[in-house]
Symmetry: C5
Subunit: 362 residues, 5 copies
Amino acid sequence: MTSTTTKRSRRRRSRLLGDKRGLPPGTPVYTGDVKDVPVEVRVLDYDTDGHREHREGDIQKLAEYHSDASVTWINLDGVHQVDQVATICRAFGIHPLWMEDILNPSGRPKAEILEDRVLVVARMVHRSEDRLVSEQVSMVLGPGFVLTFQERAGDVWEPLRERIRGGNGRIRKMRADYLLHALLDDIVDHYFVALEDLESRVDGLEANALDPNGRVDMTAIFDVKSELADFRRSVWPMRESVSSLLKAEGGPIDASVTPYFRDLYDHVVQVMDILETSRERVVGVYELHLAVTSYRLNDIMKVLTIVSTIFIPATFVAGVYGMNFDHMPELHWGFGYPFAWLLMLGSAGVGGYWVYTRRWLT
Amino acid sequence: MTSTTTKRSRRRRSRLLGDKRGLPPGTPVYTGDVKDVPVEVRVLDYDTDGHREHREGDIQKLAEYHSDASVTWINLDGVHQVDQVATICRAFGIHPLWMEDILNPSGRPKAEILEDRVLVVARMVHRSEDRLVSEQVSMVLGPGFVLTFQERAGDVWEPLRERIRGGNGRIRKMRADYLLHALLDDIVDHYFVALEDLESRVDGLEANALDPNGRVDMTAIFDVKSELADFRRSVWPMRESVSSLLKAEGGPIDASVTPYFRDLYDHVVQVMDILETSRERVVGVYELHLAVTSYRLNDIMKVLTIVSTIFIPATFVAGVYGMNFDHMPELHWGFGYPFAWLLMLGSAGVGGYWVYTRRWLT
Amino acid sequence: MTSTTTKRSRRRRSRLLGDKRGLPPGTPVYTGDVKDVPVEVRVLDYDTDGHREHREGDIQKLAEYHSDASVTWINLDGVHQVDQVATICRAFGIHPLWMEDILNPSGRPKAEILEDRVLVVARMVHRSEDRLVSEQVSMVLGPGFVLTFQERAGDVWEPLRERIRGGNGRIRKMRADYLLHALLDDIVDHYFVALEDLESRVDGLEANALDPNGRVDMTAIFDVKSELADFRRSVWPMRESVSSLLKAEGGPIDASVTPYFRDLYDHVVQVMDILETSRERVVGVYELHLAVTSYRLNDIMKVLTIVSTIFIPATFVAGVYGMNFDHMPELHWGFGYPFAWLLMLGSAGVGGYWVYTRRWLT
Amino acid sequence: MTSTTTKRSRRRRSRLLGDKRGLPPGTPVYTGDVKDVPVEVRVLDYDTDGHREHREGDIQKLAEYHSDASVTWINLDGVHQVDQVATICRAFGIHPLWMEDILNPSGRPKAEILEDRVLVVARMVHRSEDRLVSEQVSMVLGPGFVLTFQERAGDVWEPLRERIRGGNGRIRKMRADYLLHALLDDIVDHYFVALEDLESRVDGLEANALDPNGRVDMTAIFDVKSELADFRRSVWPMRESVSSLLKAEGGPIDASVTPYFRDLYDHVVQVMDILETSRERVVGVYELHLAVTSYRLNDIMKVLTIVSTIFIPATFVAGVYGMNFDHMPELHWGFGYPFAWLLMLGSAGVGGYWVYTRRWLT
Amino acid sequence: MTSTTTKRSRRRRSRLLGDKRGLPPGTPVYTGDVKDVPVEVRVLDYDTDGHREHREGDIQKLAEYHSDASVTWINLDGVHQVDQVATICRAFGIHPLWMEDILNPSGRPKAEILEDRVLVVARMVHRSEDRLVSEQVSMVLGPGFVLTFQERAGDVWEPLRERIRGGNGRIRKMRADYLLHALLDDIVDHYFVALEDLESRVDGLEANALDPNGRVDMTAIFDVKSELADFRRSVWPMRESVSSLLKAEGGPIDASVTPYFRDLYDHVVQVMDILETSRERVVGVYELHLAVTSYRLNDIMKVLTIVSTIFIPATFVAGVYGMNFDHMPELHWGFGYPFAWLLMLGSAGVGGYWVYTRRWLT
């Protein structure tokens, strides 16, 4: 999430000011800004008996894999290669509007069902070289195949590929709709990693706010709040997406796979729960900060008021006896000086006692 | 958006205090304030084979274009010409209440379906001579025609007209319902321009608020908030409008065009998402501003308190030895003066140390 | 709205502590406090061909007007005349509970349908002798008649009566359900007048708050907020009312009149929109006021701190050389006095420089 | 309401720590704390022809009154007498879970329908010996009978009993479902009394807050807010209850009585409306209080700053010429003293002018 | 609840960073952190005639108890023993995804129905060795059996076991679905214990906030708020769970048991009501604290301002007559000294009077 804040605005801008406006809807134009990444197409074809894997095959031939007998997973890294995306989409009969969604990397996560095809657009968050990276992925489910389109190489699906290769677990025995679930499940599982990162920062803010000597960093609060809002914008529509897939029972997603999607739905809701709790905690830290600030101000003003209440009257007394009048009887008294001290201590004492009775010292 | 704030109240006033009250509903009276604009009627008639274009044709003859074979797009600039609007509306059998909606430029965006007619009222935002201009547009879809009514010349549809003239893309092959979609799509696309403008102002406010030396301008926060609220009032009903068009499947809008309207719906929801995020960001800036203000107050008071705590007691000591009593033994001590300095430094030190232990210096 | 705040509580009290409690529901007792108003019954009977108008007819004979051929509008000013209200209600077969609603002038606006009768209770706001007056009106629609009950004379329907008399427009050609719409439409149209009044006050508050030299009057903010809340309580149930009339298609309200009620619904929603925006704007003014207040406090404290930081140390130095010790070498230096000035200016300069580096001066 | 705040927690505690936990649901155990009240059973049996009334009849014989011909209203004061409650419940075939609800005086208001029985649990607020008392009442409607269970003697139903005895009004002609409505109607009517009490306290707070010399009592605001929240917790579920009774048309409640329940529903919604408005008004008073407090702080600081800005520099000048240097030319000038005054007045003037230009004096 | 805050994050972490990611969904892996607890399986088999109880029976033989004639309750303490959990689950035909839910102790409370099985995941709060302990329990209802899985030994069901053993009450006469209700009922009953603990802390905070000499502890407010939010996250989904069980009438839960679940639903809603009220009360305490803090600041500043306004001008006068000019006529007046006192008292009086007129002293 961290690296996406500045990119976000750039992307949106390119979406807006690019040459897209005025073009008819459905024209394949890439509107993102990840363009310096090599394009790669990987095909993973499997059934109960085994699997076949190809890297960078001839895109024209991809349609051949399209058979109902086996499950074909075609993954493309680098959606800026409009031609290749368009070729694949046409080969698998993808609606032009979906192609536009695939090429627009700042779209809203969503799921759509059209006849026997399902489009799911989601945000994938993963750790790459020790920092969190966020990118958009589009998945198209059709009979016997799943297409996945990523902005750049590197994803959260390597363990899934291993499972397919190894043939352990349920994956090789199931059909393409289960593959779609597995892809989404891995994406949502990695949301927890990002959540953990954010939660630990909220933990730090909270600990700081509760430490009497700690300093709350308003900028840090602000940052975490922004990232939580960003994250929320990715996860919120995800719930609708999975929910709409669940409701479309009997369509491209088989009833036997529905429990897995319901499980996925629960996970998304749990992510949303944790997000909401985090937001509330951040608001709590902000309120605590405000309260601590006003408490400190009171403390500062008390010090000033105590010092002033004690010394200002006494200083006045001293000033009186510093006057140079010819006729000031006290100046010539034998006990004039001790008398002045008495006055000074007395006035300081009255001031101090007055403050003391105010009870805001305790 | 910027120029509309002051106009808004003027418009509402004319709506209220104009001669409209008391008249029966459905009487054609223009209630807006854009009256000094030349009226122009443009007809664009097209089918798969070609297109015909007329400027300022005889309004009486417009009904002739009304044929199911071709798609006729009649655009009128300047709804203050009540006669011409009424003539067109009657020629195409528009309900009197819709005519009232068309003539009232401060109405709420909405969509209505009556038999084979669809009325969509929306707010169009576009850049004219380097500033954002907002005006109301009404669109009526009927069999084989679309009527569009604008307050003034200049709109966001020039590229669409070019596409129709050029015959590239899908537009010439589709019917009038697709034209309605294309019109709305261009309007929503231009919302992103206004959003970008607002977002960049929110970016500026945020950057300012996070800059330790920056000054947050409350008036600017206030302005952006007002404009976001204004914008929201335009976009929010738009979602309902498109949603109601989607639900009316099988009516004037053909099922084959529905996916395009669903796509449009997604865009409107995305605009709303960004708007909500912007609102939250502005609230965040406001809260940050409050926190920074109270932090600065603490800082100011700390300076005052430190200075006072150190110097007021010392000044008291100096005052004591400035008294003119006859009998003040210290004054005659050999080390009286250094002794006084010791007292002064000591009292300043005690005050300073007390402040230091309070820990609000760090 | 302005004059109703104090009356509201009186009314509610009479509703509560009056002799109504303990009586069976449906007993006709007037619970309002407008009792010094002359009662007047006006009958307006019309059909396509003409109209007949009677003032203060014999209430017993009213039922004769009750024919399906013409539309009869019977208006009663002064619901405190329980007998007359009861007589009319019985003559037209009104349910006792509705009679109770008509007699209770502090009820919640609502709409109810019972067989072929419709009861609509609404709040009417109009300008009488240059101030806004708010009163409750009850309308009963039945086959061929509309009864309207007002608390006092004077209403917003004079232009409607003129239209009926003049026979222009649609009104004379339509049936009683259209008359109900026309009555409600005029009531809602006058909400815009009250809105305009409130909006212009919010405008004034906003202008004041944004003017750097202006003073925000918290009491004025508070007043506007209360009136907006009051107004909202009148308009909010109105939306439900009109909505329930819309849903009851095929009942007492003919399908041909439904578009007019939908139009009315749009107007009510627009009033609510403007109300909500006004509320947000008032909140914005309040927040701005808080921010400005805290900014001014900072400003005040800066002045105090700067003066103190510069002069308190310098005054201390002056105090030191005002001491009367026998042995103070500086006092006898040739350049002692300039040296003291150096010290004083120096300490003031150090204080000033410290403040300067704090950067909260800019 | 006033007296219930402390009792509330005690009740809840007894509910929790009493011997109830671990017992099977449906075991009759009283969990309230009103135990020192004499138990009394009153039977009121009536039909169109007359009424029979018994006090403290033999509970075993109560079932005999259970006939469809007449309406039997059995009222029990003092639900802590578990045996008697259980005897009655068994005699009339009440479900054990409902018996538990009747015996638990801190339950949530609710309505339940089971075959031909209806249970309504509500909170009754009435004035007893000049203070508001709140207690729980349970009502069970069955064919030909209504059972009511109260915590203690004294209720809001005396006028209803009079109506039954007197035979005036509709009550004697109607069946048991109408009696249930009459009971609930009287309960809701008395909510307005409690509302009036709360409203007048909010009025007082508001008047105080708007009075420039008034003092807002935060504790009073806090109290009213708590009581409004308490009240709301009683009324909110009441709306659901009446709504669920309305939806169960055709069950134990006859369609002819439904309009009376709809009327009741309107009254409950009106109570909720007033409650919400009161809550908003209290929030408004709180915000006004905060604004006034910060305004006063500004005022206080202005006084301090003005005094300091004028006198601190002047005092510095006086201090300078109080120094005892041998060589201070000014001291020996003929016009030295007036010159010093000039300096002092000048510095005070500069300070005052600086403050004046800041414009926060106006 | 108290002890779970720190554990919560640890658990979530293990869920995220453990070896779970990448594994296919449904693989039995324990993701909690309670691993040092002895595993124990207890079987309680009962019917109307009697009951049989076994501790630590051979898990392989558990399936034998699975008969429709009697109700079998198998309880397992210590879900970290994955093998045993898996063995039991397989013996009773539990879906692999449910097994995953049982093994994940930080899951969201939920209820799911699959054919004739019901899974309920809930949070159990109970007092163990004088502190509140929170753990997750999973319950599976099938024909003739209920399985319960706990993280550790010790639960809230001992009284229920006693009731089964004793044969009193309804439990022995009912089937397994009633047992599920009894289990959930005991869990929800213990929520009231935790609520009582939290409520008494809120009571303390409130009492402190209203005590003029009390000190509100912001950290305590913060803690209670966090725990209320935590608790809410446990209870909120519980409502959905019970609601979904209620809607699934006619499935594994018999219609005769539905009233008991509806009763349970009411209790959960009551817990939520109390939770919401507590949250509002905590917010109220926070607001009161802010108001009190700002009131105290005003009080502190008033003291400072009064002292300064009275003594600073007087000190200035004293400073004037401490100057050493050769020609200062007042110094030589006979009544110079009393004159100076007059000036000093006068200036102090003017300052004091000015403050007095400001009225913020009262």
